[in-house]
Symmetry: none
Subunit: 218 residues, 2 copies
DNA sequence: TAAAGTTTCAGGGTTTACCCTGATATACTC
DNA sequence: GAGTATATCAGGGTAAACCCTGAAACTTTA
């Protein structure tokens, strides 16, 4: 069996070493390089001609996603697996667009890591279960969107967005109702729908979402 | 030279492996265990009697700070070094209060890591340069605060801070209680006191406060 | 040692949040 | 004009949050 040439990209030495250590005794895998930035990865991809690149998504300077786009532009045969600390909908979505071949959380097991490299090398895509959930969610949302191109910023309706804004400002359901001149029951309905649509659990997460998406200011 | 017995605690397998790999060929260091949570660390600290514990500060469930307090309560001779992804003023401050022996960023070099273990084992404290800057900053701020105790009402206790952190992460009172191993009633008490001290009204405002003051990340 | 502060928890209460079902009016699209 | 989405609201329910009082155990400070 031919060796799979693997390039590691992470700005944290500990992570690079951790991955290298996990792959050390795998006979069909050879780590041909370790670099610490997206910029270096682009160069290394040409010089070391790796089969698979394992790259952190969140790095100082260029992100893993940007680096992926550059590398794929030069050579689309290279397989790229992105590693992410936190599983994030937007990152996965962006990654899919630049043609990533796999996406793993950083708490991946040794077995899953090796499996991912083998599958990706063989032309398959590899996503961990937790990623798959989000991918499917995203997929279904896109399906729904295709039926209705009249989409707002994040699939929320205008009114839902207004309620979200009010709630994130710190208002209670009753206060939101007063502000928007509607019944508290209507506010509750909107709020339930918002939480459901955005996959959130409670007001705390809703506030974080609102800040993250620049819906309210601090 | 006697071996320094080291226990690794991180909920990410890759980080555990990375650290273990860095310490692999150091003759005076022996990694005696690797666990993936604060809870396990408390048990392992008693069973494996390590000299030094390297622990991630941000873990699912119990944080490294919380685990440190428990372990130090059982055996104050164990040296504990916390690892932090992002350098955060409040974490350092809290860590100091629970008697941590060292504090390292996750992008620490192999040399600094080994140096830290040796120093901490020898009874010294070890903080990386970037941490030291913040420690000094904190120190000077405290000096300034002592001159005007007018805003003492706004200061939270260690426990209140931990509760604030958990709540802001989006956890319900019950979930916070489970994470900190206390009654939900205690959580409620703390929460009421926090809201009162900070002049906040509800969870939504609490989340905003936490983000504004870099207590949680987005 | 006494006083003050921290952490823990309970009982018992009110209020609010959250969820489900179902319904009506409106508007826009095919 | 039928179908779909939006926005409105109600009833009725469970769960959770929030508030108040009180108090024990412990630590730190004066």
């Amino acid at each position: 069996m031919k060796h799979i040439r693997v390039l590691l990209v992470d700005d944290h030495a500990l992570m690079r070493e951790g991955i290298a250590s996990m792959l050390k005794n795998v006979e069909f895998i050879e780590v041909v390089g370790k670099v610490e930035s997206g910029e270096e990865a682009i160069n290394a991809a040409q010089e070391l001609y790796p089969d698979v690149i394992l790259m952190d998504i969140m790095m100082k300077g260029m992100t893993g996603i940007e680096a992926t786009r550059w590398i794929k532009e030069q050579n689309n045969n290279v397989k790229i697996i992105l590693l992410s600390g936190e599983v994030n909908q937007d990152y996965i979505s962006l990654s899919a667009k630049v043609g990533v071949n796999g996406y793993l959380p950083k708490d991946v097991s040794r077995e899953a890591l090796i499996d991912a490299i083998r599958k990706v090398y063989g032309g398959e895509k590899y996503f961990s279960p937790s990623i798959m959930n989000i991918v499917f969610e995203q997929f279904y949302n896109q399906e729904a969107d295709e039926k209705k191109p009249a989409q707002k910023s994040k699939e929320l309706t205008t009114r839902e967005f207004e309620v979200l804004e009010q709630v994130a400002m710190g208002k209670s359901n009753q206060e939101v109702a007063d502000a928007l001149f509607i019944s508290i029951k209507t506010v509750e309905t909107h709020k339930t729908n918002i939480l459901s649509k955005l996959g959130l659990k409670n007001t705390a997460e809703l506030v974080k979402y609102a800040i993250k998406n620049n819906i309210i200011e601090l």
